[in-house]
Symmetry: C2
Subunit: 107 residues, 2 copies
DNA sequence: TTATCTTTGGACAAAATATGTCCTGAATGG
DNA sequence: CCATTCAGGACATATTTTGTCCAAAGATAA
């Protein structure tokens, strides 16, 4: 993510990319072909970008698409934990389940 | 979760609860007031239980509702990682984001 | 102040996703 | 054979999410 500081939300990183480029919402929105209002919402984490949109964003700002996708996924998980007021240890459990389900599928 | 072995899926744990009780899908489904087919799908992780259903299941089998909910949430995260073929390190990132977002909200 | 441009945010239609039921068929066990 | 359980497809319904439009608030400059 080059010049973007880590562990902020997807939306904040996107805003930072835009501000670093010195562009307005309208300008960026036009380039990635969405309504400026939608872009504003995504920057404030009020709407989630589709995968297609993430690709367009990555292309437009020349950042790695896979990394941007991972930023988005980790955001989703973080917000789920917060929404559900879940204990952080469920992440450890989830990790173990991933390993378990993988073994199930290789049978 | 008493007699249920850990780190299997929510569905498998549910099936185990039912089989330990020596009951059929139809019997349990009748008690928790859903279609047996839906219960079968939940046991095979083809449908996700609603929170209300999780409560009914917890009540019926006398297991801790909060723990059952956590089992369900960790399942959801595990399946998301698998579906997206995401790297496990996004869990670490998600954990840091949770902390970060919490600080944001206390301002 | 006025004019202009940017950003925020509500309302809502449209699209996408998920839930729950019905039904058919395979498998098992009297 | 008959009865019962479980698997799984199809599908209507319900719920959730997305994306747009529009109005208003906030900035900035003249």
């Amino acid at each position: 993510m080059a010049t973007v500081k880590k562990h902020t939300t997807f939306g904040e990183q996107l805003r930072q990319l835009r501000e670093t480029a010195g562009m307005t919402l309208r300008e960026v929105a036009a380039n990635i072909e969405i309504d400026p209002s939608l872009l504003a919402k995504i920057e404030r984490n009020q709407r989630q970008p589709t995968k297609h949109l993430i690709k367009n964003i990555a292309d437009f700002f020349s950042v790695n698409e896979k990394e941007l996708l991972e930023e988005f996924l980790s955001d989703q998980i973080a917000y789920k934990i917060l929404d559900e007021k879940a204990d952080l240890n469920i992440l450890k459990v989830a990790e173990e389940k991933v390993a378990y389900i993988k073994t199930l599928r290789n049978e």
